[in-house]
């Protein structure tokens, strides 16, 4: 990996720390984001996703470490970087008391787009993001999904090479989320690198690569498949008549990382050190409660649970 020069990556960060007083918001973050990919930050609330994005956009200065985005060293060249990145904030940050069109016109002028170019770009964005009918409506009176599309339109208006999206779908219904991701893949296809933070597993699974963050520390990274393949646990699904009881008993064992109920089944994560997880479960004292056990394909949620367990305790 060291043979690849920095410019190959849209984002490259080494040993980045960021403290707020005594709080260590980000610790030892190493990050390499390839161009034209969708990279995900997966983590619970307060895990440092927003802080990481703010560090990478130059809004915050790192306490230690080095960051290079699109070849620009941060925070020194933050101002030059602004023309090449788009940032969609977690909270709607366009003007509620301006119409859709006025918001876009404002941004267009800020980015130096005027006259015919501005007009063309804005009408194109309005049609891509399905806002033609809403062009003269106040942004404050629109639904969550419409506002999110407006935010995205605003963030990509100047055709940035790199797009940061901070929990873009948190105020949006599943239907709109699907559509939104289609639009992200379209952008990616056109050459945009996208960094998106989320706490939804299904969204994380759509990313080319992702990093799992917890308490400011990167617990794992890689493509979803790699993460699942390298997971430090077996996933066993167990059928039982007395699931709650079984779950509580299993939970006391060191070899069991987690046990989560899914309707009538129990999804048990067994440490990889145990070579034969089914055999291990069958010889337990509470084995008579287990009606059936089988190894299943791990999901991203299993990965998440496996690598974030420590911080919870």
């Amino acid at each position: 990996m060291n043979t690849v020069p920095d410019q190959e990556f849209a984002i490259s960060a080494q040993q980045v720390d960021r403290n707020f007083g005594n709080l260590k918001a980000i610790q030892n973050l190493d990050l390499q984001v390839e161009k034209q990919r969708i990279y995900g930050f997966l983590g619970p609330n307060g895990s440092g996703k927003t802080t990481a994005i703010r560090l990478l956009t130059g809004l915050l200065k790192p306490s230690a470490g080095s960051i290079s985005v699109l070849g620009y060293k941060l925070p020194k060249n933050a101002e030059k970087l602004r023309l090449k990145i788009g940032y969609m904030t977690q909270k709607f940050s366009l003007y509620d008391d301006l119409t859709v069109k006025e918001n876009l016109q404002f941004l267009a002028k800020i980015y130096g787009l005027q006259g015919k170019h501005q007009h063309k770009r804005i009408s194109k964005l309005l049609s891509i993001y399905g806002l033609d009918q809403k062009a003269n409506q106040l942004a404050g009176n629109m639904s969550g999904g419409q506002r999110q599309r407006l935010s995205l339109a605003g963030a990509v208006l100047h055709q940035p090479e790199l797009l940061f999206l901070d929990e873009p779908t948190s105020a949006v219904d599943p239907e709109n989320r699907r559509e939104f991701w289609e639009q992200l893949f379209d952008l990616c296809d056109q050459g945009t690198t996208i960094l998106v933070s989320t706490h939804y597993m299904d969204e994380a699974e759509r990313c080319h690569k992702l990093a799992i963050l917890e308490a400011g520390i990167k617990r794992a990274d890689g493509s979803p498949d790699e993460l699942m393949a390298n997971m430090n646990a077996h996933v066993v699904e167990v059928l039982s008549d007395n699931i709650r009881n079984l779950k509580n008993q299993l939970f006391t064992l060191n070899e069991i990382i987690s046990a989560a109920q899914l309707g009538a089944r129990l999804r048990v994560l067994v440490n990889k050190k145990v070579t034969d997880p089914i055999g291990f479960l069958k010889q337990l004292p509470m084995a008579e409660q287990i009606k059936q056990a089988q190894i299943v394909r791990p999901s991203l949620e299993d990965v998440f649970v496996t690598c974030t367990g420590e911080g919870r305790q």
Binding site: T89, S93, L94, E102, K109, Q114
Partner: protein, 381 residues
């Protein structure tokens, strides 16, 4: 070029927001209109009709004529009669009257022996001739009311005796320039321009950046290429126009309703007003970069506004203040503008003769703009 475009973008955005904010838009017009009408009519430093009482120990025709003669000055209104001095003092304490005239039993003897009456007889000692004919008890906590009563001290008395008043030659001849009728409105109206501009200009801009921060727009703005000074300029330019409109309303109404003349050059007036508007707007911007929310920005605005009203010379003469207060007043843009606008509007002074006030407004603006731009950092640290 791009810089100009970005300033224009912010400017148009502010106008749009202002246009949709009907309340604020209305206040821009209503504040000067209503305040001018209110203060123009209400504020009056010529004290008239102070409610007073009388304790008449003599109960003679003379004492009644005395009371009538004093009433005729219109400075006081005799509203109450009291039987004893204790009663009168209680009335003063309770605020029923501001002063009480106590007429002694021997008022007629005192009057006859009074030197100003000039009768000379019957023969009497110095002690007797120098006795005042009656006494005022005054609630002097309000100095203006006390001064009004004090002005009665040397009231001519000859009318009491049906004699023509003694036309003495005054020591000094006094020529009243610029406000010969001594109307308070002449002084108040130009001063009101300074007070209202201070209030609206600082208030609008002090909320400007804070509002963007509170609503979350700032996080978006700072990831765009817009520079701090572009943002600042774009935000204050709309308010320059508002300030000029407000000035026009106040001076126009002052001219038509209160007959306050505009003697000086309109060009010089405009230049001085623009400089003052700039200084106030920049002060608002500095506040805006310090305050964390709109409530804090309001508090800081009032912190500046009160001295601008009380120390600037609007209410009380600048020269009467102690030196330390004068220094504070000198720092406030309102003090300098108060001098400038009164000078230009009332005394038709050439602004060049007051250039040091202009210089201070200019220096204040430049320093403020530098501070605001430096303080407004384009990051979230």
């Amino acid at each position: 070029m791009n810089s100009f475009l970005r300033i224009q973008a912010v400017f148009i955005k502010e106008l749009m927001q202002l246009k949709r904010d009907r309340m604020t838009f209305g206040m821009v017009i209503m504040i000067p209109l209503i305040q001018l009408m209110l203060f123009g009519f209400a504020i009056n430093t010529n004290i008239r009709h102070v409610p007073v009482g009388v304790v008449d120990h003599s109960q003679t025709g003379l004492s009644r004529v005395l009371v009538q003669t004093i009433s005729a000055t219109q400075i006081v209104n005799f509203t109450q009669h009291y039987l004893s001095i204790q009663q009168a003092q209680q009335a003063i304490a309770s605020g029923e009257v501001h002063a009480v005239l106590i007429i002694p039993k021997d008022v007629s003897q005192r009057l006859v022996r009074n030197q100003s009456v000039g009768l000379g007889s019957p023969p009497s000692s110095d002690e007797e001739t120098s006795r005042p004919i009656a006494q005022w008890l005054v609630d002097s906590s309000d100095t203006m009311i006390a001064a009004a009563i004090k002005s009665l001290r040397n009231m001519p008395l000859l009318e009491l005796l049906n004699k023509p008043p003694n036309r003495g030659t005054p020591t000094f001849a006094v020529t009243l320039l610029y406000n010969p009728e001594q109307r308070t409105a002449v002084n108040i109206v130009p001063g009101l321009v300074a007070v209202i501009l201070t209030m609206t200009m600082i208030m609008f801009t002090s909320a400007a950046i804070v509002r963007e921060r509170e609503r979350g727009n700032l996080e978006m703005l700072i990831t765009t290429p817009v520079r701090s000074f572009e943002l600042m300029l774009g935000k204050i330019i709309p308010y320059v126009f508002i300030g000029l409109v407000q000035t026009a309303i106040i001076l126009g109404l002052g001219y038509s309703v209160f007959a306050v003349p505009i003697n000086g050059s309109l060009l010089q007036l405009g230049a001085a007003t623009l400089l003052f508007i700039a200084a106030s707007l920049v002060l608002g911007l500095v506040i805006s970069t310090i305050a964390k929310n709109q409530l804090q920005s309001m508090q800081m605005t009032i912190f500046v506004l009160l001295p601008s009203i009380l120390l600037s010379g609007f209410m009380f003469p600048y020269d009467g203040m102690p030196l330390a207060a004068q220094y504070i007043a000198e720092a406030l843009p309102a003090t300098h503008f108060m001098r400038l606008i009164r000078g230009i509007v009332l005394r038709d002074v050439d602004v060049f003769n007051m250039r040091f006030d202009l210089y201070w407004l200019l220096i204040f603006t430049l320093i403020g703009l530098a501070i605001a731009s430096l303080r407004f950092k384009k990051n979230l640290d």
